[in-house]
């Protein structure tokens, strides 16, 4: 199946790069797929049953995540982007096994090189692996227990895992974590209500980082925050990544944030990946009509700089219902470039790298190579 190809191993990508590309890669530093992938997800599926009636008859399935494959290289940020209902959050949760996937495998590689298939672990085994993963949620007002102090919230993982011998040591570790997220350690005896949204999100980040994870899943970490505070949290996440050598799976609907933070991006539509590749090349020249439409839909501030105005593509209709997916390409009812083949035949996720240049660039579209799509201008004059 083509999906198997959708997990590029780091080695072949490095060999594929033409020499001319190398200086630019070095400049960016991270994001180079190395042989060391923290996460390899293959054919991940999550179907939710639709139950009806008194006997809870099984009448259908919501394909929330369907045959999703990707990898995350050590030290990079992969963004999952898409509209509500596209399965990005479900993917993130399946990867952590916060919910049980219906199929597929999630391979996690620890820092010492040990590989673990997360989908086959028993509960106690899972617990020991989850220590290497952190999770940051969207809403810092509901993700922190209001009845615990900051010390108890951040210290909880140490206590439940019996990793700490005494109170003094616990306080030291928590103080250290608070300092790493730029909060005053003397606040540790306060309760969450005493903090602003941005400060709470810092506390949530400190808790996610408590056990020194390699891999952090951040699910819309700035969407609930005020505009002026969003930038603080984004810069903090970027700084922490380089300080602690973190690998991020960043789930968001905000394309400007994707561009700012991620090395590679995976665009999802109705449970499937429709485009996956390096953020800069996808944003400069998308290959899937949905990506093009998403990029053009983002409102921009008219600063009066020349060339900012882009022609806007307005998609017809709504996102398809994942319990009743259209035949053929799932995007065809809204696609401005639709042809007959799109209505009948489902496109596969194909790597365009051969045609396009160096880096793997996967697209699920029959006409990916023919269409000349519009991206966002990278350097306004």
């Amino acid at each position: 199946m083509a999906q198997a190809d959708a997990v590029p191993t780091g080695t072949n990508t490095t060999t594929q790069s033409p020499p001319g590309q190398l200086p630019q890669q070095r400049e960016e530093g991270r994001g180079l797929p190395s042989a060391d992938n923290v996460l390899e997800v293959t054919d991940l599926r999550k179907y939710f049953p639709i139950l009806r009636g008194f006997f809870r008859r099984h009448v259908g399935e919501v394909k929330a995540v369907d045959e999703v494959s990707f990898h995350v290289a050590r030290g990079e940020t992969l963004a999952l982007v898409g509209e509500s209902g596209c399965g990005k959050t479900t993917t993130g949760r399946c990867v952590m096994r916060a919910i049980e996937p219906s199929g597929g495998s999630v391979l996690f590689r620890k820092r010492d090189g040990e590989e673990i298939d997360i989908t086959t672990l028993t509960r106690p085994e899972l617990r020991s692996v989850q220590q290497h993963m952190g999770m940051i949620f969207q809403d810092p007002f509901s993700s922190l227990n209001p009845r615990l102090t900051v010390l108890e919230i951040i210290g909880e993982p140490f206590v439940t895992r019996k990793l700490i011998s005494g109170r003094r040591e616990l306080e030291e570790r928590v103080a250290q974590l608070l300092r790493s997220v730029r909060l005053d350690p003397t606040y540790m005896r306060r309760y969450p209500h005493a903090f602003s949204g941005g400060q709470r999100q810092r506390i949530a980040i400190a808790r996610a980082l408590a056990l020194d994870p390699d891999f952090v899943v951040a699910d819309e970490p700035v969407s609930a925050l005020d505009v002026s505070v969003q930038a603080q949290i984004l810069s903090l996440l970027k700084e922490l990544q380089s300080e602690l050598h973190l690998t991020y799976l960043f789930i968001t609907h905000n394309l400007s944030v994707v561009e700012y933070l991620s090395d590679r991006v995976s665009v999802m539509y109705v449970g499937q990946i429709v485009e996956l590749g390096r953020t800069d090349s996808i944003f400069r020249q998308p290959r899937h009509p949905y990506t093009e439409a998403l990029l053009s839909a983002v409102p921009v501030v008219e600063t009066g700089k020349a060339g900012r105005r882009r022609e806007r593509i307005i998609l017809e209709g709504d996102v398809a219902d994942p319990s009743n997916v259209p035949a053929g390409c799932t995007f065809h009812p809204r696609c401005p470039y639709v042809q007959d083949i799109c209505r009948d035949e489902e496109p596969q996720l194909v790597d365009l790298a051969g045609a396009n240049g160096s880096h793997p660039h996967y697209v699920r579209c029959h006409f990916a190579e023919e269409l000349d799509l519009q991206g966002v201008r990278n350097s306004p004059q």
């Binding site: 005020d226 700012y260 501030v301 709504d318 990278n378 350097s379």
Partner: protein
């Protein structure tokens, strides 16, 4: 600039909330004018008083709140009414609400009642404000739904709100608001709860409707890009004060107030790439119960002048081109 007749004039409006924690000065001395057919954007972060400003205009301020000062004059047919003086449950304001001035909300699920069809609710609005029969009202409702781009309006009119998708519900709410051809539409975060592609649809729709129906528009949002898409003028609010106000093309090209500059710099901009520098405003919005003395922005301001900004409230300073700013940096002499 187009000088169409003045439609609404808000002068020195102050709306305070009285609670056990103290007095919350949600809106404190805000003034602005809207001419017929003009689109004004009110931007600011949570707690800046932008929504309370809208609620004050429609006189739907929650119970513990009170308009303590100011005038809101609505001009219609050559006469002016001060909305502040009206009884908030009286006949007059109820005629204006939904008739002369309509509002769309952020969460369409909360604006519609769950137990009536959307047709039911739209015809109710029409019959309340216009003298017509049930079937005429229904025809007008269908017409309005078609106008906002609802597919198969003859069928969807009998749908319940929960049966519609987010984008369709937003359209239904806009249809309801516009069903009596208001002179002014207030949209409070109209696209915050919907997806990007739906947001693009709704923004396009609002632009078209505003142009075709010649109504004035107040857009309240935290998203400056939405304002840049829709509005002619912008007013930036911070902790109940209007800190800067200017035509849209001026304020985004040449912002003056440090808060406006900070807001614009703290949003990553699409197309600027991976290496763009964000310049976040330090700190966060203080509790409105503990509003800083002097200029409310001074604890976070990079251009803070000691003994000036933390003592005196800056005056409103008029710059060229209809641009006004409330900041000590621009005080002449």
């Amino acid at each position: 600039m187009t000088q169409s007749p003045l439609l609404l004039s808000v002068d020195n409006l102050a709306t305070h909330f009285f609670s056990q924690e103290g007095i919350l000065e949600a809106v404190d001395g805000v003034s602005f004018d809207i001419h017929a057919g003009e689109a004004l954007g009110i931007a600011g972060e949570s707690g800046c008083g932008k929504s309370v400003t809208a609620q004050s205009i429609l006189r739907i301020v929650p119970k513990n709140g009170k308009i303590v000062m100011g005038e809101i004059s609505l001009f219609q047919n050559g006469e002016s009414v001060d909305l502040v003086q009206l009884e908030d449950r009286g006949q007059e304001i109820r005629q204006i609400r939904g008739g002369e001035i309509a509002m769309v909300f952020q969460e369409p699920m909360a604006a519609f009642s769950m137990v009536y069809t959307i047709g039911n609710q739209i015809t109710e609005v029409i019959r309340l404000h216009q003298d017509c029969s049930q079937s005429e009202a229904r025809d007008r409702a269908i017409e309005m739904l078609r106008r906002v781009g609802m597919p198969q309006p003859e069928q969807t009119i009998d749908a319940y709100p929960f049966a519609l998708s987010g984008g369709m519900r937003q359209r239904a709410m806009i249809a309801m608001a516009l069903s009596c051809h208001p002179a002014l539409l207030i949209a409070d975060e109209p696209t915050t709860a919907v997806d990007v592609t739906i947001q693009a649809q709704v923004l396009e729709l609002m632009k078209d409707l505003q142009r075709d129906m010649g109504m004035a528009l107040i857009v309240i949002t935290h998203d400056l890009a939405v304002i840049s898409e829709l509005c002619d003028r912008v007013m930036i609010m911070y902790l109940g004060k209007d800190v800067e106000s200017a035509p849209a093309d001026v304020i985004f090209r040449d912002p003056k107030h440090p808060y406006t500059i900070g807001l614009l710099r703290s949003v990553p901009e699409l197309g600027e790439g991976h290496s763009q520098e964000l310049d976040p405003i330090s700190g966060s919005v203080p509790s409105p119960y503990r509003r800083p003395a002097g200029c409310p922005f001074h604890p976070r301001c990079p251009d803070f002048i000691p003994d000036v900004c933390d003592v005196h409230l800056p005056p409103q300073i008029e710059l060229a081109g209809g641009h006004s700013v409330r900041c000590h940096l621009y005080v002449q002499d």
